[in-house]
Symmetry: C2
Subunit: 386 residues, 2 copies
């Protein structure tokens, strides 16, 4: 038995964070959680601290951190606030699971690349927005970055494991479940409640990503992730509607032979892949032979999902467009989730923003934060929230 | 541009042979046909000779060879008879496509392994019956053997290309279309004509293999091929009923992630793979995104296909059983195709043979031929043909 791998979990109380700990819980002979980090979810992190006894705990919210001190007798080093998160990001680890949601992940990720041997990257926005900074730094520090986002993880498995040379690739396909509202007409969409949108047919995920699955903004982001991760032209990345969420990606080679990667819609799969890579977790055998399966694909209608088209256009521009759209989307989705705007206003407002923002180059990480703040402010202004 | 690869085609006038030449016809910048070999199909081989101008032509049938001399003015070295085939098998080549059907392939294959750098092996019976002799000799002479049989080819692509370590394999699945008679009841099966059986829903193949697809004898042989080719335990090879014949094999790894290999039911696919390996043929791009696809799987009923069970049992015995059953199957299928017995008698007679043959070890290639002859004679005897 080798030495246990030291694991940091960024965003441990979110959906991916919790799933990561479920995987580690069953493989404590191989992995040791040395640090847990959350925004402010005290109730969940107390449970996690009791179970994993990490050396370090970070709560970004200072008030929550103060409360936490009184809630447990277990010893650990408590970090809090922006500075605390920065220090937490400087802890050396074998594997860091990056599961902080939204653009907030970018800063700790960029710091931690220097201190971790491997990043299991579950955050999407960082790769959509800050890929060039992330991959440059990872290259410099020889840090492995393994995508955990299921479609990107499936491509990684297909390409890296297969040692497929990029020049042999004909086209890559990621699949889209279509989200909760695929068969709703325009009239019904206006009346849709947050509860309806959050009732995803196959995946159990965080709230924003579940709404983004219904607008296909999420799928647009994944195309950009795939482009950034694997250096594949946009024209060679396709989307297939696949309601069952079993086949996450396909790679069609130059001779038109296609390989697909199949696993159930359960984040524990790509997480365990990223933890065990290049080995694989050993699970008791299960038998597909006795079940019926059906996989179906159909074309995605870009007409039905105008935001998908907008995101992809933004991606191709390669300027501040994606920063703007990501921030705007986060704000309007949040307002929808809080019952302040209708579902259809998500699309309307993003479209509005797409017309008015100034197109500027992103030269530094600072530029990212500048345009992120700008877009958040502007979105609220458009919506009359400011 | 590299030197053209010299190709010999064994069984050039059969279904796989013709498909091989269709692939080479479009890639004459890379491959050069130096030899064609058929049993007796003069009409077809004359066309092929005109098109490919091979240095060597072999017709096993001496009478046909004599006729051929008068039919074309193109110069080539003509070989004929058993001895001619032996000489043809001693021609040096970069790639030999082995597409002679049945056990007749074994002898030229075993000779040619010594003279060819790569064997594209389309013949199934040789691997089912003579694997240990084939792979031992191939290892000795460092001859690559690439399976062309689509399911085995798909496994090869999944494993070799993926550099998947055998210990990471959970289970391998090959798919079965179920053949032409899947939904026939026992009563209708009795009345089935050769024409009905030969009307395969997805594949256009030789006659015997098409009948073997309906009885699933063919699928049983493929399980044995997979076992012999990749050294995988029988319990880790499964069969899935998959009517569309698009996904030819799947490999489920120890973490239950599954990879599948997809291409249309067209033998030109695995043939071109075997020719171009480890590179891949470059085809103009086609777009899956605009089409609807559906892949379905359901369990195979071993009850519905008793011959499948018998073949697999024979495989596990590892003695002369498969030689016997292959010979018996070939004879009864031939009689069925010639209208001499009913479809249901295929099963009856193979079952009968399975009960009566003496179980003996196979120690040499001679033993194979002995039991092959024995089984052919015995089958005819049972059927009152002798």
């Amino acid at each position: 038995m080798g030495k246990k791998k030291k694991v940091l979990v960024f965003g441990s109380t979110g959906s991916v964070g919790k799933n990561s700990l479920k995987v580690i819980e069953k493989t404590t002979d191989k992995f040791e959680v040395i640090g847990l980090c959350s925004n402010s979810n005290i109730k969940e992190i107390v449970k996690q601290i009791k179970k994993f006894k990490p050396k370090y705990v970070c709560l970004k919210d200072k008030a929550a951190a103060n409360k936490l001190k009184k809630r447990t007798k277990i010893k650990f080093k408590l970090l809090s606030g922006e500075q605390g998160l920065e220090k937490f990001s400087q802890i050396k680890s074998d594997i860091s699971i990056m599961a902080i949601s939204g653009i907030d992940c970018l800063r700790p990720l960029l710091i931690n690349i220097e201190f971790s041997k491997r990043i299991a990257l579950a955050n999407k926005e960082a790769v959509v927005i800050g890929a060039k900074f992330i991959f440059k730094k990872a290259k410099k520090h020889k840090t492995e970055i393994i995508p955990v986002d299921s479609e990107i993880n499936a491509i990684f498995q297909l390409l890296n494991l297969n040692k497929i040379n990029n020049k042999n690739i004909g086209k890559i396909y990621i699949t889209a479940s279509g989200g909760a509202l695929l068969n709703y007409d325009q009239k019904s969409l206006k009346k849709v409640t947050a509860k309806q949108v959050l009732n995803h047919p196959t995946w159990d995920m965080g709230k924003r990503i579940t709404v983004d699955s219904a607008t296909l903004v999420n799928k647009g982001f994944e195309v950009i992730e795939a482009h950034n991760f694997f250096n594949i032209d946009y024209q060679n990345i396709g989307i297939l509607l696949h309601r069952q969420s079993l086949m996450h990606a396909m790679v069609k080679l130059s001779d038109r032979t296609t390989f697909s990667c199949i696993y159930p819609p359960d984040m524990k799969k790509p997480i365990s892949y990223a933890l065990f890579y290049p080995k694989r977790m050993k699970l008791p055998k299960s038998d597909n032979e006795k079940k019926e399966y059906s996989f179906s694909y159909s074309p995605i209608s870009y007409k039905q999902f105008p935001l998908l088209k907008i995101i992809l256009e933004a991606g191709k521009r390669g300027d501040n467009s994606l920063v703007i759209l990501n921030a705007c989307d986060e704000i309007v989705v949040d307002l929808f989730l809080n019952g302040k705007i209708k579902f259809t206003q998500i699309e309307k407002n993003i479209k509005k923003m797409f017309k008015i923002y100034p197109k500027k180059k992103i030269k530094s990480v600072k530029d990212i934060y500048y345009w992120d703040r700008w877009a958040r402010y502007k979105t609220k202004e458009i919506l009359g929230e400011i």
